[in-house]
Structure formats: structure tokens, C-alpha cells
């Protein structure tokens, strides 16, 4: 394990987290540290336990065993609201935006300024300021979200998670449905969020995206930690850790390709 190399104290650290669903051991003895200003990618094959871990961190599931420390204090997160209050914001895969409302309304949904006489002007200014800080390219904040592209919607979803001033932003497959340019925009956005000193947890299947922005790559396999990598480590090692064997479908395919070229 290469954890605790960073000099700063971790915002969030998981120790020995296990989660059991009946007879199924979804997570077993998971260790994870998130430091301020770093992007930690969480990768693993289908069924590796990524989604379960995300839900534990979002307060949707409670771990069966283990401790969660937030800013050095042990905490329990028994509801999504509790996680949000601590400062862990989650941007879910399905974006959870209201398409019939405009960008400002979506950003402030549930946390409107002056509830009995909505301060639209102040909300619009704050929306523009935030989007500008993120260098987000949203043409108009007064158009319904339905008129935005996938990347712009993802931007709005991420910006919304930042409005509550979290310490950690967790992104579940943020580039899964996006095109090349839009993916690049979201990756830029992730870096800007990191530069604000927040911890970012990125869950993704796309190794290219992961290598592009992650400072550390944490591999899960069958519900357990299976190594921590840096973007500089070789692809073969990473794939081997994800699939659990140096001899796997990916390596066989590459070997065959190589043979074809040599022939």
C-alpha cells in the first residue's frame, strides 16, 4: 500500500470497511484515504464493489464493519442528508436534474435563497459566478436544462454539488454518456474542482479518463482492495489488478494483436 504518503491529513479515511448483503460479502476490509486537493480514481470490474462503496460514502448504505473518519473524527453516516451535511457531495450517474426547470432553479433546488420571496437576482449572480469560476460554458442560465447538451448537464450537476461547499465531491461515471469534447470539458472541470482544494473521488470504467486526471488509482476486486497505482504505472499492471490475473482477456487480445503485427 502506498497510502499516507501525502503530507497533509486525509479528509476522509476508511478503515476495514465491510458490507454484507445476506450471504453476499460485497465489501471486505476496505482501506481508503482521500486527501485535500487530490483526485482518487476508484476502478474495478463489474461486481468489484465500487457502487456499494459509493453508496456507503453517500450514506445510502451503512457498513457492517469498520470505521469512517472524517477530518480525523470517527463519524457515522446514516442517511444521504448526513453525508451531505458532513461535506461529502455525490454526483450520481443518472444526473438527477429537473429538465423542466432552468439552470438557476436546478443549482439552488432545495436550498433556495429567501424561501418566502425567492431572490432570483442574487441566485442568478451566484450561479454565474460559480459557473465562471469553473470556466463552465453554459450559454444561458435561464433556459430549461432540457436544452443543454450532456456535457453541460454534467457541468450543472457538478456545479450544484459545489454550491453546498463540500470537502469531497464523489463523481459516479461522469463521462459515461459523453462525447470526446464533452468528456474533455468534464475532465477539465474535475481538475478545477481539485485545484479548489477539494478531494475528488472519481468512479470510472474508462482507463483513459482515469489516467488523465487521477493522482492515485485505487483498484477494487471482488470487494477487496487490490492495489493502489499511479497514472505512470503500466497499463498491463493496472489491468492485471482489475481482472485479477496477468493472463486475462485484455492481455490475450493484446498478445494476439502483437503477433499479427509481427507476422
Amino acid at each position: 500500500m502506498t497510502q499516507n504518503q501525502s503530507p497533509s491529513q486525509p479528509i476522509l479515511s476508511l478503515r476495514g470497511i465491510s458490507k454484507q448483503f445476506g450471504a453476499v460479502q460485497a465489501l471486505k476490509d476496505i482501506q481508503l484515504d482521500i486527501h485535500p486537493g487530490e483526485v482518487v480514481a476508484l476502478v474495478g470490474d463489474n461486481g468489484a464493489g465500487k457502487s456499494t462503496l459509493v453508496k456507503v460514502l453517500a450514506g445510502v448504505h451503512q457498513p457492517t464493519e469498520g470505521t469512517i473518519q472524517f477530518m480525523g473524527r470517527p463519524v457515522t453516516m446514516d442517511s444521504p442528508g448526513a453525508a451531505l451535511e458532513l461535506g461529502i457531495a455525490t454526483v450520481f450517474q443518472d444526473l438527477a436534474l429537473c429538465e423542466n426547470l432552468d439552470v438557476v432553479a436546478n443549482l439552488f433546488l432545495g436550498h433556495e435563497l429567501s424561501p418566502w420571496n425567492l431572490d432570483e437576482v442574487q441566485m442568478e449572480v451566484q450561479a454565474w459566478t460559480l459557473l465562471r469560476e469553473l470556466s463552465a460554458r453554459i450559454p444561458s442560465v435561464r433556459e430549461p436544462v432540457a436544452s443543454l447538451s450532456g456535457g453541460q448537464r454534467q457541468t450543472v450537476a457538478i456545479a450544484r454539488s459545489l454550491l453546498l461547499d463540500p470537502r469531497i465531491v464523489m463523481l459516479d461515471e461522469p463521462t459515461a454518456a459523453l462525447g470526446v469534447a464533452q468528456t474533455a470539458e468534464v475532465l477539465n472541470l474535475i481538475e478545477r474542482v481539485r485545484d479548489r482544494g477539494l478531494g475528488v473521488i472519481l468512479i470510472s470504467h474508462n482507463m483513459e479518463d482515469v489516467r488523465a486526471v487521477a493522482d492515485r488509482i485505487v483498484v477494487l476486486r471482488l470487494g477487496r482492495n487490490n492495489g493502489v497505482f499511479t497514472p505512470e504505472d503500466s497499463n498491463a499492471d493496472l489491468i492485471a489488478a482489475i481482472t485479477g490475473a496477468t493472463e486475462n482477456a485484455v492481455s490475450r487480445r493484446q498478445a494476439r494483436k502483437l503477433e499479427d503485427v509481427e507476422r
Binding site: 429537473c98 429538465e99 423542466n100 426547470l101 432553479a105 418566502w116 425567492l118 442568478e124 450559454p139 432540457a146
Partner: protein
Amino acid sequence: MSDPNSQVALDRSDSRVRHDEGIVGAIRGFFDRVRSGDLGMLPVIVGLVLIAAVFWSLNPVFLAPNNLANLLFDAAAVGCISLGIVCVLILGEIDLSVGSMSGLASAILGVMWVQMGLPVPLAILVALGAGAFMGLVYATLLNRFGMPSFVSTLAGLLAMLGLQLYLLGSTGSINLPYASFLVRFGQIHVMPAWFSYLLAVLPGGLMLWLGLDRMRRRAAVNLSNPGGLSVLLAKAGILTVLLLVAVHYLNGGRGIPWMFGLFVALVVAMNYALTRTQWGRAMFAVGGNREAARRSGINVHRIRMSAFMLCSTLAALGGMLAASRLASSSQQAGTGDVNLNAIAAAVIGGTSLFGGRGSAWSALLGVIVIQAISNGLTLLNLSSSLRYMITGAVLAIAVIVDSLARQSRASHGRG
């Protein structure tokens, strides 16, 4: 981008967006919205003009001030019910029992006030309470058991109709005293002329005052003012002139009914709640994407509860207004076309059946369309059978317009 240029307004830094300036720009923006399926109030206003023209050509009495005053008296009761329907439609739910609820409320009023001799305010409170209770029941059935409102309110329709018949007993109908305030309110009382003129200039003045305040505050924080002063002045001016003409015309006859004034006041209050409060924002969010609303920390169950309770309570109020208009509580109250007229009014006015879209004004405009049709057909001495058929056709057309506009919005990316 990172260096905020103080010369360019915050919301004008993206060159891809066309910004419509001045009156010409405002008109161009309006046509763009209509073309993409964001019809707003346009269909209902076009429909109203058409209806007025047709009935006036068939029988000029239709547009006589006294007939219009009658129309407004009739519109208030169904309008109140329709206002409640707007609330549940915004959530994407439905309440099919508003007709029965209004009938039950009128029966409660008649029995408690006339038969039992209790004070009127108490009877009104009990009827409103019954409405709130039924809304609570529907919301609980939906929240706890996931019972679709379509089914639960259908069951409520039958149950409340039964209760109404039981309360009225064998006599079948109770006459309300003609000399009482309630009946005079429903049949005779109109606003003094000076007061109605005052009310006519109020909206334009308010629009100007709030608009100027908004422009000042936006300018202070470096946001642009689309349209600017010219559009604001034009809008407020046109509104004031139209209202003054209408009020002057109506005052040439009996005048403007207080009952209609009460209805409009409720519409204004509902419009404020829906557009300017956190509750209203939450209503549209739940109607647009329930899961997104829940994840934003909105209490979906409580929002549903508020909508269903408002709907049934307004239906009870509408039932009592109808009773005061007819000076009786009868077994026929709230049956027949009341239910569908109220729902049709909301949809015709532009509130979507699919949830997430709507406005309190749609109840006002829609109910005037419905009442105009009903009133015009009555003037032509057509039977109620034909009236039902024509109202049904108008409802079908309104829903088709709603569906087409929805598809067009989807293809133009406007939700």
C-alpha cells in the same frame, strides 16, 4: 474567461447566445418560443377570441355587459375547483373527485346551516376541513401504499357522492335563504365602480414598480436587463389599457361580481406561491423529476400532501360558491360536468397533464373559455346534451395541443 470583464454583463459573456433587445427583440423571442412548442397562454387567448366572435355573430347578446357579468359569476365556482386541479396536475397527479367534493361541501353547508341552524362560518369551516381531510387521505394513500391518485380519487368520487346523498336525505335538496349574505354574495353583490377601476390600474402599476425594482437590482450586480424599460412600459401600458376597457364595459351593466374578485385574488395568491416561493419551486421539481427532487433534499411526501389538500379544500370552497350561486344544496350539486369542466379548464389554460408545467393563470383563462362555451350554447337554446358533446370536443382539442406542444418542446430541447 477567468478575468471578469466589467464592461460585459455577467450573463452576456457567451457569444453563442442571441440576446433580444428592446421591443422588437421581445417580439422575436416570443415567436421563437411559440415555434419551439412553448405555447404558454397563446392557444387559450386565440381560442377565447374565436369563441367570442362565433357566439357574438350567432347572438349579439353574448357580449352584452350583463351577460358577461353572469358569465363571471358562474366562472368563480368552477374556477376555484380548477385552481386546485392545477396544483395536482403540476405534480403529474390527478384528482377526479373534485366534483363530488364540491357537492359534499355544499351538502355540509346546507345541512349544518339551514337544517341544524348552526352559524354559517362554522359550517364553512367544517366543509373546508372535510376538503383538507380528503386531500390528506389521497396523499397518504399515495405516499404509504403507492396507490395511484387516479384510482384513489375515483374511489373518493363514489364515496363522497354517497355521503352527499346520505346527508341530504330523502328531501334531496335544501334551499338556502335568499336574504342571507352568502346567497347575495353569489348572486347580486358587485364591486363599486371606483373600486373596480382602482383594481384595473393596480396590476399595471404593480408590474411597473416591481419591474423597475428588479431592473435596478440586476443592474447593481452587473446582470443584463432583457427588453429593458421599453418592453416593461409597453407591457404595463397594454395591460392597464385592456383592463380599464374591460372594467369600463362591464360597469356599463351590472358591474364586476365580488365572487369573481375573490376567485382572482386566490389565483394571484396561488401564482405568487407557485412562482416566488420555495414551495412552488419544489412543486415543479417534483412534477418534473421526482427522484431528482428527492435527492435535492425536497420532502416529496409533504409536497404531495400540500398539493392534494389544497386541491380538495379549493374544491370544497368552489362547491360552497356554487351553492350560494344557486341558493341551494341539492343532490345534483357537483355531479354532471363539474368534474370534467374543472379539469378541462386547467388543461385548456395551458397546465400540462404530464406534470411539471402549469400556472395559476391557466385556471382563470381556462374557466372563462369553458364558461363562455357553456353560456353561449345556453343563449342559443341548445340542449345540455349538445353542450356536453362540444365541451368534450374542446377538452380533446386542448389535450391534443398539449401533447403536440410537448413533443415539439422535446425535439427543440425545451423540456
